[in-house]
Amino acid sequence: MDWLDQQQQNFDSLQNFGPRLWDGFLLTVQLTLVGAAMAFVIAVILGLMAGSPNLWLRGPARIIIEFFRGTSLLVQLFWVYYVLPLFGLTLESAFTVGVIALGVNYGAYGAEAVRASLTSVASGQWEATVALSMSWTHKIRRVIFPQAWALMIPSLANLLVHLMKGSAIVYIVGLNDFNFELDQFRRVTSAWFSYAFVGLIGYFAFALVLTQGMRLLEVRAKHRLGQGLSLREILSPAPKVPTSGVQPGGAS
């Protein structure tokens, strides 16, 4: 059997296997998006706590962050799925288990990005909020976080892609994600065709969508701070005229 026939067979199998691979891919998409949403909430809460001058908030946040950063995702999955039930804490679905493990693990990493970008907001901005007697929640919500948001997006975009790739190990708690289905597919084709071709394209395409989505978020966030072009200007096919954007620090 020559190489071409082999590929012919592989693509035939792909057609038969297609729906299962697609279901697996969709599960990976769901795990990534729901896991990322959970990780983001955890990152913001822990990041705000870790950036607080109050030791009673900062201390616990640091311990949680270091713990979940310092243990692997695999170990955390095992804990949530196999060990917590021994203490009477059983989670209904494997999907929830996967989302929680992804959420706490990448949330801990994200907390560092949130904390770092909060401290990167110019000290003059914090001082202005004091001079206007804003409460802590008010200043964070209306002044500091919107500015920190633009700074943290690049780090969060990195973590989002990591999280997507991290989701590939959830099959160990019995989820039929893209990676699991690729492994099934490998049995009827080859490691090359399944992982190195179909898997590569699937994961890469999803990662590309995620990073480009985050890039657009960043453009929008920066434009709201008066930096760079608006989303509409970036996406429009017409030539980009820089003068139509807001020019920071214009002449007097």
Binding site: A122, G124, V130, S133, Q147, G226, G249
Partner: protein, 264 residues
């Protein structure tokens, strides 16, 4: 006994104030008071502690010794059974809403328009209605000569315009005390006059108490009732602007003024 001493209750009173950063003492045994409506200018070489005084009043720095009173009430600490006890955050906030500050670097919020910058605190801190705050903001923008900039983005304005918005933002809170921290130092020379004229007008038309740190000696001469010369964290001379600028008694003051006026 650290209680206000002036019978008519000064708006700001410093009693034995000491400020240190680590081992570095910036202010020591500082005592002075400012009456209602009084404009006091702090002059002196950089590093003499002038800006630190404004930052202490705005609670941007922690007071390490002594007491500051605003309207006769302790701003950061009170004496209780011979000990310094911190005041509650609520008490401090009540006093702090009476104090406004304009910074050297403007510090406008870049995520808001000019109008939003001005109405944000009046609505969410003072609880004014949106309509009330907006009407006030427009009249303040008129007052600082920027009636058509309400919907602009702060960073699209020039430095001088940004500082005028910052002044409007501080005045929108109806402060009893306005702290001006080198408000023209970051501006191009040709727009300094505009900003100072707006502040002169505020000084002429309101009764707001001003504590000013500036290197603009002609402005200090025009608006202030009292000038205090600082050096090494202490007041070395104080008096009316006429007295300080034309006939200073301290050699250090003469030196400083001749250096500053030569640069100007």
């Amino acid at each position: 006994m650290p209680t206000p001493t002036d019978p008519e209750v000064p708006v700001i009173e410093f009693v034995d104030v000491e400020k240190r950063f680590g081992d570095n003492i910036v202010l020591k045994d500082l005592n002075f008071s400012v009456r209602r409506g009084e404009r006091v200018t702090l002059i002196g070489p950089s590093g003499s502690g002038k800006t630190t005084i404004l930052r202490l009043v705005m609670t941007l720095e922690e007071l390490t010794g002594g007491y500051i009173f605003v309207d006769g009430e302790p701003l950061t600490h009170r004496e209780k059974d011979g000990k310094r006890v911190a005041v509650s955050p609520k008490e401090q906030k009540k006093l702090r809403t009476r104090i406004g500050m304009v910074f050297q670097q403007f510090n406008l919020f870049p995520n808001m328009t000019v109008l939003e910058n001005i109405v944000e605190a009046p609505i969410h801190v003072l609880g004014q209605s949106k309509a009330e705050a907006t009407a006030k903001a427009h009249s303040l923008l008129e007052q600082v000569g920027l009636p058509d900039k309400a919907d602009q983005h702060p960073l699209s304005l020039s430095g001088g315009q940004q500082q005028r918005v910052a002044i409007a933002r501080a005045l929108a809170m109806d402060p009893e005390i306005l702290l001006l921290d080198e408000v023209t130092s970051a501006l191009d020379p040709e727009v300094v006059g505009d900003v100072l004229n707006i502040l002169r007008k505020v000084a002429d038309t309101t009764n707001v108490t001003m504590l000013i740190v500036t290197h603009e000696m002609s402005f200090a001469r025009d608006v202030s009732h009292k000038v205090m010369m600082f050096d090494g964290g202490r007041v070395i001379e104080e008096g009316s602007p006429e007295k300080i600028f034309s006939d200073p008694s301290q050699e250090r003051t003469k030196q400083f003024l001749s250096a500053v006026l030569r640069d100007a």
